[in-house]
């Protein structure tokens, strides 16, 4: 373990140019992460490229395929643009309220708004299903009260459901990015405009909005990117009619077995996300407007006027409803029997029940390929544990290498972040195209699932660890050395305690990413070894109240584990995050 040996010379030589030995050291650190990326990311990407190219050369692009591609691409852009617009409309007043007001629920709401970051798409889809689905609260209560024979609202399998879930997911991004920019914005600038004769609206338009524009643009682009690559939400809430690129890849590859078309779709998707990422990086790099420093804690105050109170109250209500209602609906629905039991006609047998949880331990079908759902939980935990191990083992040396100033970094840093640009579905497709021979046969080599999860988690792990490693001042280590600590002791006494918290944060991140990962897993999981998200998807798309209840029960369990993760993250927050 000499990643962290910190000979000052390796950091920076007097001329500012690292010596040759430093480059070799950096290269050694890079070796394992780079090999991993090449084998499990670039080779599968190459497979997709060659399969789709071969398909294009031998068969060409049929008009039907071209039409499907065009429709998927068009719909992907359309729903992403619409979702982004809605998210901005919901998030902007929230960002303002968070930046400028102190109110009682602020801390709680801020904590709640971190939930979507970590919640698996299947859980969110199940939550909205429990709220607005045919067996959800809205419909059941309406049927009960109005004595209707069938669910009156058909909200599921609609664009509205997709948009709602996207707003749920991404409002946080607007709140965070725009909210913190707004908080940084000196309120005196707006006051100055007012004194100079600008009405409140004009001061907002001429001063506040132009200053927020870069952060607003960056946040909106990020939201657009997430909406663009959304998979689980669309598959579970949109139904068959709404196919984005991601869903189309999934259908082509797994249902229609048209791998060349799936590959082509993947390439289009990858191109689009890369383009969006480049634009986003450009915008984000201009985010820092130089502002005159301002006194601390001056911006936020309790709402005073009636209008301010109404605004704050309204925003708090909307955000609470948006964030809490679906999740509460999910948990409550998983313990409520609100419909006729199996084989029973008429007569609601309503009440609390733990049946759905009990059923998790039973294999109803008695089929070889169907295991008791609780097995899925066991698989998920096992994979998540392996993912933590793999992503940290690769992330630590990569972060250590990045924190040294080496000319290699400029080359390798973007390379490292590439898996972020590729969607999980693309990853899954790449895996089944590449690893189709023993011993690395996708469907018989279960380790491929945690490997895929590690690829998704890897950029997050590196991004969490690097700034912390960078933040350890050199003179801290030098002080320890002068006080008589050997290099090993320096690492143990200085680096390790500081790094430990960051490593824990990274571990929780990769654990929850793995638990919730659905896109790649849906390609790789064998029927008899499902993960929780795969099992939830399987149960929720089957008829019957029991299957539905079990899906909700599993979703609730997953929700609880993720909630636990959030609580843990909150406890071990890194120092520089404290201000958020």
């Amino acid at each position: 373990m000499n990643f962290f040996s910190t000979a000052p010379a390796a950091r920076r030589s007097p001329e500012g140019q690292p010596p040759a030995s430093a480059i070799w050291q950096a290269l050694a650190l890079w070796l394992a992460p780079l090999a991993f990326l090449i084998i499990f990311f670039f080779v599968p990407l190459g497979s997709i490229l060659s399969v789709s190219a071969r398909g294009l050369i031998t068969d060409g692009l049929s008009p039907a395929a071209a039409e499907r591609l065009g429709r998927a691409l068009g719909f992907t852009f359309y729903q992403a643009a619409l979702s982004t617009l809605l998210t901005v409309l919901v998030g902007l007043p929230g960002a303002y309220v968070f930046a400028r007001f102190d109110f009682p629920a602020k801390r709680l709401l801020r904590l709640l708004s971190t939930l979507p970051f970590i919640l698996p798409t299947v859980v969110v889809a199940a939550a909205f299903n429990a709220l607005i689905g045919p067996r959800g609260w809205f419909n059941l209560l309406a049927m009960e009260w109005l004595n209707l024979p069938a669910p009156p609202f058909n909200l599921l399998n609609s664009l509205a459901a997709i948009l709602l879930a996207h707003v749920f997911y991404n409002t946080t991004i607007i709140l965070r990015v725009v909210g913190s920019a707004w908080e940084q914005l000196d309120p005196r600038l707006e006051a100055a405009a007012r004194v100079l004769g600008a009405s409140p609206w004009r001061a907002f338009r001429e001063v506040t909005l132009p200053l927020l524009r870069p952060s607003l643009l960056a946040a909106a682009l990020l939201v657009f990117l997430f909406d663009f690559t959304s998979f689980g939400v669309i598959l579970l809430l949109g139904g068959a009619r709404y196919a984005t690129l991601e869903v189309e890849i999934y259908i082509q590859a797994l249902h229609l077995l048209n791998l060349p078309l799936a590959g082509l779709l993947s390439l289009v998707q990858l191109l689009c996300t890369l383009l969006l990422t480049v634009v986003y990086t450009r915008v984000a790099s201009r985010l820092n407007i130089p502002l005159t420093p301002r006194l601390h804690g001056e911006g936020a105050a309790a709402p005073v006027s009636l209008r301010q109170k109404l605004l704050v109250g309204g925003v708090v209500l909307v955000l609470f409803t948006l964030l809490v209602l679906p999740l509460t609906a999910l948990a409550a629905r998983s313990v409520a029997r609100l419909e006729p039991a199996r084989g029973q006609r008429g007569g609601f047998e309503s009440g609390l029940t733990l049946d759905y949880y009990r059923e998790l331990f039973v294999n109803r079908r008695g089929s070889l390929f169907y295991v008791p759902p609780i097995e899925a939980a066991r698989n998920s935990l096992l994979y998540a544990g392996l993912t933590v191990g793999i992503s940290l083992a690769l992330g630590l040396p990569a972060a250590a290498a990045l924190s040294r100033r080496s000319p290699l970094n400029r080359l390798l840093d973007p390379l490292l972040m590439l898996p972020l640009g590729a969607s999980a579905v693309t990853l899954g497709l790449g895996f089944i195209l590449t690893f189709n021979r023993p011993p690395l046969e996708a469907r018989s080599f279960p380790l491929l699932i945690p490997i895929a999860h590690s690829l998704v988690a890897f950029p997050f792990v590196v991004r969490t660890l690097t700034p912390v490693l960078n933040s350890i001042p050199l003179n801290l280590r030098q002080a320890a050395a002068v006080l008589g600590a050997s290099p090993l002791r320096v690492w143990l006494e200085v680096d390790l305690p500081i790094l430990a918290r960051a490593a824990l944060v990274a571990a929780i991140f990769s654990f929850t990413i793995s638990l919730g990962e659905f896109g790649a897993t849906s390609f790789l999981a064998r029927p008899e070894y499902p993960t929780l998200p795969v099992a939830i998807f399987r149960f929720i798309s089957q008829p019957g109240g029991l299957n539905y209840g079990q899906a909700l029960a599993m979703s609730t369990l997953l929700l609880l584990v993720c909630g636990l993760g959030i609580a843990l993250l909150e406890r071990v927050r890194l120092p520089e995050e404290r201000s958020l």
Binding site: D186, A198, R294
Partner: protein
């Protein structure tokens, strides 16, 4: 022109302003002087309409400004740290208030040029404000505040962010510009030197009230309270008792002083505080009955134009400016001139903050 009446305001549950009243006349520059946290800036924000007072009124030429929104008051406010719009150039910052009045572009252009020339920044019109030095930013802020010809100009610690040398220079400049423009101004500062340089009139704020309101020379010569004296750096304060009213004679622990000047004569035997201004020290002749004391020289500091003596007398430390030094350790009798004496009708104990 401006009348501020009995303003009350709490900040974070504590009383900040507790009945502040004053007036500003035409063409007058008034300095609000007080320690940091005394509510000076809040008072400006209330006058500007950015904050609301809990009670009290702000009147302009007799009209109550309650309900008049900030942007319709036509007051100028120069913020501490200036609050220049970072996304606009120097000229665009200065033009902002003119644009809000919907003036024709040619007229705006002309006025911007004019004001920028006045603050010696006509070469800087197209620069980004973030590229300017502190002193340049301060002049842009002044130009921006003056450009729309406000009815009243308020300046919140305009020199606070600058270093010593620049303060002197820009303070002088501010004084010229203010007098020349003839606009009534309220100038907020915690620095008395600055206030003396700028002000036609001083208003001292203490514990949420006006502690004294008067010309700078009057405030220094005849401070209204022990706090004012201390705030202005007058530290030779001795507890005493009135032993004769005509002429006013005050007995202290170090001697009897007579005649003593006072704003209004105190009662016989009243406990008072005697102020000895630092310029009034002379040598004592042996037969003098009043205004003498024995002292030991504790410290002598050369101050360029003379010396500062620190004396110990009867358990009190007194400090004086003298043209010629006495050696440290010197002991003997000294006298003060009667003009240097001022009686404060307030015992030392209840004058402390």
């Amino acid at each position: 022109m401006l009348t501020v009446e009995n303003i009350h305001k709490h900040y974070e549950g504590k009383p900040l302003l507790r009945g502040v009243s004053f007036e500003v006349g035409a063409g007058e520059t008034v300095c609000l002087l007080g320690a940091s946290g005394s509510g000076k800036s809040t008072l400006l924000r209330i006058i500007a309409g950015l904050e609301e007072a809990e009670s009290g009124r702000v009147l302009w030429e007799g009209h109550d400004l309650r309900g008049v929104p900030v942007h319709e008051r036509r007051f100028g406010l120069m913020f501490q740290d200036y609050a220049l719009f970072p996304h606009r150039s120097v000229a665009q910052n200065v033009a902002f208030g003119l644009r809000m009045q919907n003036l024709p572009p040619a007229q705006i252009e002309q006025r911007v040029q004019e004001v920028l020339r006045r603050v010696n920044l006509n070469q800087f019109a197209d620069r980004r404000v973030t590229d300017l030095s502190g002193g340049e930013q301060q002049r842009v802020a002044l130009a921006r505040a003056l450009a729309p010809r406000p009815r009243l100009l308020m300046l919140d610690e305009p020199l606070g962010a600058l270093d010593r040398a620049l303060r002197e220079e820009l303070g002088q400049f501010l004084r010229e510009v203010l007098h020349e423009s003839g606009v009534p101004a309220i100038y907020v500062t915690h620095d008395q030197e600055e206030a003396f340089m700028i002000a036609d009139r001083l208003i001292l704020l203490h514990e949420g009230r006006v502690a004294q309101d008067g010309s700078p020379s009057r405030v220094v010569q005849q401070p209204a309270s022990v706090w004012v004296a201390r705030f202005l750096g007058l530290t030779n304060l001795l507890p005493g008792r009135v032993v004769n009213r005509q002429p006013l004679t005050v007995q202290t622990e170090i001697g009897v002083f007579c005649p003593v000047d006072c704003a209004e004569p105190p009662a016989l035997n009243e406990a008072v505080t005697l102020l000895i201004r630092p310029g009034g020290l002379t040598g004592a002749s042996a037969d003098e009955q009043f205004n003498t004391f024995t002292a030991e020289v504790r410290d002598v500091i050369f101050r360029g134009e003379g010396y500062r003596l620190t004396l110990a007398s009867g358990g009190h430390n007194l400090s004086f400016h003298v043209p010629q030094a006495l050696p440290a350790g010197w002991q003997g009798r000294l006298a003060v001139q009667p003009e240097a004496l001022w009686c404060l009708r307030q015992g030392e104990h209840n004058g402390d903050d």
